[in-house]
Symmetry: D2
Subunit: 219 residues, 4 copies
Amino acid sequence: MNKIKYGLIGASGKMGKEIISLMNENENELVFKYDIDGESFSEKPEVLIDFSLPAVLGKTIEYALKFKSPLIIGTTGFNEVQLKQIREFSEKIPVVQSYNFSVGMQMLIQSAVLLKEKLTDWDIEISEIHHRFKKDKPSGTAIMIKNALGREVNISSLRLGNVAGEHSVSFGGLGETLTITHSALSRRTFAEGVLRAVKFIVDKEKGFYTIKDVLDKEQ
Amino acid sequence: MNKIKYGLIGASGKMGKEIISLMNENENELVFKYDIDGESFSEKPEVLIDFSLPAVLGKTIEYALKFKSPLIIGTTGFNEVQLKQIREFSEKIPVVQSYNFSVGMQMLIQSAVLLKEKLTDWDIEISEIHHRFKKDKPSGTAIMIKNALGREVNISSLRLGNVAGEHSVSFGGLGETLTITHSALSRRTFAEGVLRAVKFIVDKEKGFYTIKDVLDKEQ
Amino acid sequence: MNKIKYGLIGASGKMGKEIISLMNENENELVFKYDIDGESFSEKPEVLIDFSLPAVLGKTIEYALKFKSPLIIGTTGFNEVQLKQIREFSEKIPVVQSYNFSVGMQMLIQSAVLLKEKLTDWDIEISEIHHRFKKDKPSGTAIMIKNALGREVNISSLRLGNVAGEHSVSFGGLGETLTITHSALSRRTFAEGVLRAVKFIVDKEKGFYTIKDVLDKEQ
Amino acid sequence: MNKIKYGLIGASGKMGKEIISLMNENENELVFKYDIDGESFSEKPEVLIDFSLPAVLGKTIEYALKFKSPLIIGTTGFNEVQLKQIREFSEKIPVVQSYNFSVGMQMLIQSAVLLKEKLTDWDIEISEIHHRFKKDKPSGTAIMIKNALGREVNISSLRLGNVAGEHSVSFGGLGETLTITHSALSRRTFAEGVLRAVKFIVDKEKGFYTIKDVLDKEQ
């Protein structure tokens, strides 16, 4: 991959810093940023990344239109109206949007769906462990897993110290069990997913994509 | 240990069969049994074991008095009045009573209490996995662990296939986690605890004991 | 499924007993058996099952030819010549052969292969836990997993008490880990795989199949 | 605790930076440092901390004597001669020395020793998971656990991505298993142990201590 010039909305946030660090290691160049301290512009970005807040969405769309640059959105907590707005926007500009950019989590979901389809009479349980500061319970990712399974599944939520994020899907038959567990060691893992999405979207025309499309395309 | 002559109330139940099998391997002799099919007596037992139902307690006490034999009670689900009745009875005849005769479970509790006392500002979570047929949720053992910790602790209960019983206590600090997990592979483990209790109580005079007393004495 | 009349070679072994128990629950009828105590025949079986020893293979093939009955082979430890003999035999009579009839284990392998293909730069580790009486180390199943991954992978083998069999495949990237763990709760799980294979093969003409074919066909 | 003025040898290393960060949060003051870039002195430290290399030991002892400041040593890889040198030195100046300053790891060891003493006929297995960059195998901490158990125990070492450090001690009886697992989420956990050691040693006269003494004293 050639060096990519990118813009970042939410540059001063925890994920913003992680993304800058990884993009830098891979010799990409931050040419535009926008955050709580204002705007900083040196050149038109080839890709625009947004890890900020739902309230910033209008501004993000404005910038993406102005730069005509593909957009990657990792911000969480959008309402239905905003999600629809992103979909509509993707008819003009290519968008990758996901609540979890971890590659491993997408693979956990693919595996769990595979198991669910074959082990039709087994029980399924989801459990997740997060740090004590997390406010939502169950986690958004646990709900995402449950939705992917398309079945009513119990979710157990544990809150422990400073755990970055662990999700398990357990299957139980009468003589055996199968459990898939994903652990995020740090935020870097999410930044890596963003980098994959950048490589994926930089030369797309338009359309709505998820991290799953990114991974499927890589194969 | 010499060969012990024992009696068994609830001999035809799942735990009853498991106890007979293990006692037999260790060359002890079943000289009295009582269950749904009635009574069978060949000789006065040196120890009486009860794994039956709360409703049978009166009968059990009657037999123990008649035989003047130390009593081991593994039946679960007693109410407060019955528990008091057992305590009072132990002033005449020695009794070991517990809701879980697994040695490993007692060790899990001892370890968890040790950790709780030293890791005062860590979070604690209990989780348990049992087979899909289990009716109570959380398990009695999980509640026993919580009571031993003497702190308000969240319990997560998973129901999966045919899992015999798995209990975990997790501790989480800001930079690390510690988890103790106990798995019962089969009912044999509970029978082994009963055998230890038999050896412990066979020459006691009177008094109320738990499986913890049994283990502490062995050291 | 209609009631099936089956034959069993190795009927008095641990797996043999487990198979009889499950086949019985499902109202199938044992019409022929062969084991260390000799032969017992009441009727020609529709399916022949072999969980015995490699040395018995000649006898097994002889019976299958005589009865013209599809064959399920769960015996382990065959050498290359014997494996070739089974393949050749399957050109006349349909055969399902596998070293592990657990459905969950096959699903673990499918999931692990899926993950391996997508997570190309992640590390992989296999670990297995078995009872202290197990003589081979690593387990045959661990080797089977490694072969399916088609990559040089380290295998850690733990020997603990009476564990029936636990296998894990762990994947580690720079920011996250994924682990799939399979636990056999008892031998019943393997008997269930045999029952599935019986249903699969009873009306086949000829050909060589594995437990994977059985599962794929069920979908 | 009052604000403490401390010195740090190995200040520019990974652990050095983590210690500075935590000491700073707790309003302690770095008044002396020594590392690959040389020496920087503003005031005599009340405590001296060393997380550097074995080869630096002579220099460390020189500084501690000069400052007459209690010493905390977290450097690993000392040979027998150096360990003896530290012991002898502690007859003049108080020293806390350990290969692992994590509080949770010390508690894992205490729990494992407790279990080992009571579960005399159970099998024991140690396993550890670390990042792919780790050069030693098994880890020093795994060896420390084994030494504490005082028994010949198998150690399984897995190398996976970027795992900070996970150690398990598993116990297996014929009907049950017990596993204690410690996970370091980050290096911060080791810095927290250092801070506890600082508070412990700041007003000691002389003597050799380990992190276990630090924890026991806190109770």
